[in-house]
């Protein structure tokens, strides 16, 4: 780990742009935040705002062809992306990427993209609206193992640049950086600690997690809750750790030839049909079971053991997007009060 001081962030952006495509979160007039590609000509200022869609589709594409058979032979479909950098990803989303790295460890499509990516994290120094990353150990400061470089804003418009991996050190080579004094790291810790204190009281989440794992919650509670699930797939689409997918084959026939594609696409475990078999048998035909399964994946002890952390990184996206008002905060409150 090396720590540097930087006066002008633009220098780092320009430096990274020499060898990478650079993506950054941009906010438009209506407050919509999204990852957008930046060019040498114009760099938007770095903002610590959570984009509506997380970064997961940079690695796990929403639709992709796994196989194409063009009538004579199979075509290679592995992506070959140019090196790119996610500049200023926030801690919850970075934690989610580490989580998915494990899930997709052996997935060549995911890994082909992931290996070409440099992650530059940005510390949050103020709580965001729906987030609760401290409660699930996913922020607000960027965790060392989850990024290659960490940026921390200092009071005097300066930046602390912390490289946490070889890839990170390699990426800043050639850039004129001054080495920073270690006490700035202590200062960083203090700021992050203060930020954690500023989050609203989220003990109801911790309590609900305990209750969820106690085996006390009745099926009827989940059934009642699930009346409100419209099966929209919003939560699973926006959740940075969700990774359900399905595949289908698409045949495109023209006069000359027949092309068959095997396509993988994002799916949602909250759809009734997700587990239905051809015989109509369905282990989770009950909406209550589906909603329960979703929250067990996020907070169940078995998954904690497997992934060494909760499946939820505390971003709060599901609360905002759930039309049925059963996102994270609503569900955790109801587990405490009604279950």
């Amino acid at each position: 780990m090396e720590i540097y001081l930087l006066d002008n962030l633009d220098l780092l952006q320009q430096h990274l742009l020499i060898q990478h495509q650079l993506y950054q979160v941009i906010e438009d007039d209506n407050g919509q935040c999204s990852w957008q590609q930046q060019t040498k000509e114009g760099n938007a200022p770095l903002i610590a705002k959570l984009p509506q869609s997380s970064a997961k589709d940079f690695f796990f594409a929403e639709h992709e062809n796994l196989l194409i058979f063009n009538g004579e032979y199979f075509q290679e479909t592995l992506p070959k992306p140019a090196p790119f950098v996610l500049f200023g990803a926030l801690s919850c989303d970075l934690t989610a990427i580490s989580y998915q790295d494990k899930f997709f460890k052996d997935d060549p499509y995911y890994q082909a993209r992931r290996q070409h990516c440099l992650l530059v994290g940005l510390d949050c120094v103020r709580p965001c609206q729906q987030g609760f990353c401290p409660t699930v150990d996913a922020g607000p400061g960027v965790r060392e193992q989850s990024a290659d470089i960490i940026l921390h804003p200092l009071e005097n418009q300066q930046w602390l640049v912390i490289t946490t991996s070889d890839k990170g050190s390699e990426a800043v080579k050639g850039l004129a950086l001054s080495v920073a004094h270690w006490h700035l790291l202590t200062q960083r810790d203090l700021v992050l600690h203060q930020c954690e204190q500023d989050f609203p009281d989220n003990t109801y989440i911790t309590q609900a997690i305990d209750k969820l794992n106690s085996g006390e919650i009745k099926d009827s509670f989940w059934q009642q809750l699930a009346v409100q699930c419209l099966g929209c797939s919003g939560c699973t689409t926006l959740c940075p750790t969700c990774s359900c997918y399905s595949t289908r084959s698409i045949t495109v026939e023209s006069e000359q030839k027949k092309v068959i594609k095997q396509q993988r696409f994002w799916d949602s475990c909250l759809y009734e049909g997700f587990q239905r078999e051809a015989s109509f048998h369905n282990p989770s035909s009950d909406a209550g079971k589906r909603v329960q399964r979703f929250w067990h994946h996020k907070f169940g002890n078995e998954f904690f053991t497997e992934f060494n952390r909760h499946g939820c990184v505390g971003c709060g996206r599901c609360e905002q997007t759930c039309p049925g008002v059963i996102g994270i905060h609503s569900v955790m409150k109801r587990i405490n009060s009604d279950a």
Partner: protein
């Protein structure tokens, strides 16, 4: 990777949620995300909204004009298509007159497309034969509210849901059909707003409230009259409001004097006690809001049902204020706009009467053309006239009447009887299969324009993609066709010019421009020089007709009661996974998987009596038709009632539904008819209607 994010409006339902289309470097649509700060949807979409890319990116898009020769379609050039259509139209008009041709436009198309369609009909073809599908959704709303209040639109706004004390949902299933609004209602209820649901089925909202009035099919008026009886008898009405803003209350009081809750118990199936509790809750609430849907309109008594809801709101003064009103939930994304644009046989844009001399002059001067004077035909009127050989050519876009219209067999044979049927569509539909010429239509993501949502909000739709293949927007091909027929009347340069011409002629849209619409995230009409910011609540000071009218209406039995041969009542419903005829949503593998092709909801008790098991193949027969599908056992339908969604071309419910009509609007009674259900042999898969009728 996403290279561009284009803000636009969901193309599926009347809620009009804000979405962003994510476009990659190659200009293809990758996916969508909700607009975080949209005034209505606030960062949410329903499953239809989320599945938008599947509808547009499908491989099945029609990409060039097609001509049918016998049963096969052959690609032709646009020029050939236009020449053929123009020649045919001209010769039909020369021979048989303008009243034998017409257009059915689309509640899915933009305001600009609809404006162009009615102008094309009236000024180029010189006929008022112009309609769209509202006929089968909400024409009783327009007719009923127009008489009672003077305007047929939603009186209040979506945001009022969070600013009211009681929500009364009448014959509507908002969590399935207008999911985001339905979600708002769930949220408001969770935060303490009282919720009353009136519906024959146990809808999702009914499951969330203790106040569910599970009335019998078609007994709305009896129920509402009894509610009025109680409100008047107990002096729970709003005296000040009634005396200062309305007329006809005394007659109404007299009319419902003897309609006690006890007297309607057997007709409605709702206990007198529950009627009284409801009357008290609604009338005593400080602010109360009514939402209603097709459970009100799709009856022979549709118009009167709407009128009696207006009576109810007026009697309690629950109108013209925040958190009140009579609020129709309209189906398709732009059904409000299609009506506003005058895609109706009796009105020009802005509901200016075709029969009025003044309006005729206004439009003929503005367009610099002679226009049609004779009254026009409705869509049902056009198909009927085609059947009898009095109607010869139809241009149709974005609609699939063969699947969605009542009495499918009749529609099919009359369309076959036409000399010229032109259909503009995204993908092949059952109706398009009958066309002589098919034109490739541009999807909503491929054009600029505006949609008007159910709360009268005009919102901007922005082009994100190049049109697929040779596809064209509707006003663009109408323009090309007009030119081919020697008319320069549709010569706009872009959508904005169409909009500006329309706004200059439509009083309620007067003060709107594209820029202002974008800046304000939509504007709600009336948006006039007097109210340049738009209007979120109608009728605050007065009604367009001065005083609102109480109109006395009587209960009417459903047209086709059950009997020995047809012992079960069938009603139609919608599933939130699908939309309209399903030609867009069924392209999604996710939504397609959610429900098998066609199904019949039946109460377990009825099912047991008929020896039908869950998912078993069954046949359903009515006086008009026969279909096969699978049974879905569900307590959500009461004993004696079966329900069938209408999205499925394999088992279309309109093979069965009744064609008896509301006398005012000709709205068919889609919500009730008598049927017989029988199990098919085990293991015999249900046949599709195409197989049953011996086609491929």
């Amino acid at each position: 990777m996403c290279a561009d994010l284009v803000k636009t409006i969901c193309p599926f339902c009347g809620v009009g949620c804000g979405m962003c289309l994510k476009i990659n470097e190659q200009g293809q649509l990758l996916s969508v995300e909700p607009q975080q700060n949209h005034p209505i949807s606030q960062g949410k979409l329903c499953e239809k909204g989320w599945s938008t890319p599947y509808a547009i990116n499908t491989n099945e898009r029609i990409t060039q004009p097609l001509k049918r020769i016998n049963k096969k379609f052959y690609p032709i050039s646009w020029q050939e298509a236009l020449t053929t259509i123009a020649c045919e139209l001209t010769s039909i008009i020369d021979e048989s007159g303008s009243q034998t041709v017409g257009i059915i436009s689309s509640a899915r198309a933009s305001n600009e497309d609809n404006y162009a369609a009615q102008k094309f009909a009236r000024a180029v073809l010189k006929t008022n034969n112009i309609d769209h599908c509202a006929r089968i959704c909400h024409s009783p709303t327009v007719a009923g509210l127009k008489q009672s209040l003077g305007s047929g639109a939603m009186t209040n706004s979506a945001k009022d849901i969070f600013d009211t004390d009681l929500i009364l949902v009448f014959g509507a299933d908002p969590t399935e059909n207008h999911s985001i609004l339905g979600g708002h209602i769930m949220q408001a209820h969770a935060q303490g707003t009282e919720l009353i649901v009136v519906d024959p089925r146990v809808t999702r909202l009914a499951k969330l409230t203790s106040m569910h009035l599970q009335l019998k099919l078609g007994s709305n008026i009896a129920l509402i009259n009894a509610l009025l009886h109680v409100i008047i008898k107990e002096q729970w009405f709003d005296k000040n409001f009634i005396s200062s803003r309305t007329q006809g209350f005394e007659q109404l009081a007299l009319h419902v004097k003897d309609i006690t809750p006890e007297s309607v118990e057997s007709i409605t199936g709702v206990s007198a006690e529950l009627i009284r509790t409801t009357a008290r809750a609604y009338s005593q609430a400080k602010r109360a809001m009514i939402f209603y849907g097709m459970g009100i309109t799709q009856y022979v008594s549709g118009t009167n049902n709407v009128i009696s809801l207006a009576n109810l709101a007026l009697s309690c003064g629950h109108i013209g204020k925040v958190g009140t009103g009579v609020n129709p939930l309209r189906g398709q994304n732009n059904v409000q706009g299609a009506c506003d644009m005058g895609c109706l046989p009796n009105v020009f844009p802005g509901y200016q009467g075709v029969a009025e001399l003044e309006s005729q002059e206004k439009f003929s001067n503005a367009w610099g053309a002679k226009i049609a004077q004779q009254p026009g035909l409705t869509s049902l009127g056009m198909t009927k006239a085609a059947q009898s050989g009095d109607f010869h050519a139809l241009l149709l876009f974005g609609e699939d009447p063969v699947v969605t219209d009542p009495d499918q067999n009749h529609v099919k044979s009359s369309l076959k009887n036409l000399d010229l049927l032109v259909v503009a569509e995204l993908t092949m539909t059952e109706t398009a299969k009958l066309a002589d010429i098919i034109l490739p239509a541009a999807s909503f993501a491929e054009k600029d324009g505006t949609f008007t949502n159910c709360e009268r909000r005009v919102q901007k739709v922005n082009q994100a993609l190049a049109p697929r293949g040779e596809a064209k927007g509707d006003w663009q091909w109408l323009q090309a066709l007009a030119k081919q027929m020697g008319s320069q009347l549709l010569n706009w340069q872009n959508s904005e010019e169409v909009f500006n011409e329309m706004a200059s002629l439509t009083p309620d849209y007067q003060a709107m421009t594209y820029q202002k619409i974008s800046d304000n995230s939509g504007l709600q009409w009336p948006c006039t020089f007097d109210a340049p910011e738009g209007t979120s609540i109608l009728h605050q000071q007065s009604f367009p007709i001065g005083r609102a009218r109480f109109i006395c209406v009587n209960h009417v039995d459903i047209d086709e009661p059950i009997d020995d041969l047809f012992p079960l009542l069938l009603t139609t419903n919608r599933l939130h996974f699908h939309y309209g005829c399903g030609s867009m949503t069924r392209k999604s593998p996710l939504l397609e998987r959610e429900t098998p092709p066609g199904l019949l909801f039946i109460n377990p008790i009825d099912a047991q009596a008929l020896d039908i098991t869950h998912q078993a193949p069954v046949s359903i027969k009515s006086r008009r038709g026969y279909v096969e599908t699978r049974a879905m056992l569900s307590d959500d339908v009461p004993v004696g009632l079966v329900a069938m969604p209408y999205h499925f071309k394999e088992a279309p419910s309109n093979q069965l539904t009744n064609t008896a009509q509301d006398p005012v609007t000709k709205m068919p009674e889609l919500k009730a008819c008598a049927v017989a259900v029988t199990p098919l042999a085990k293991g015999q898969p249900p046949k599709t209607i195409q197989q049953l009728q011996g086609e491929q």
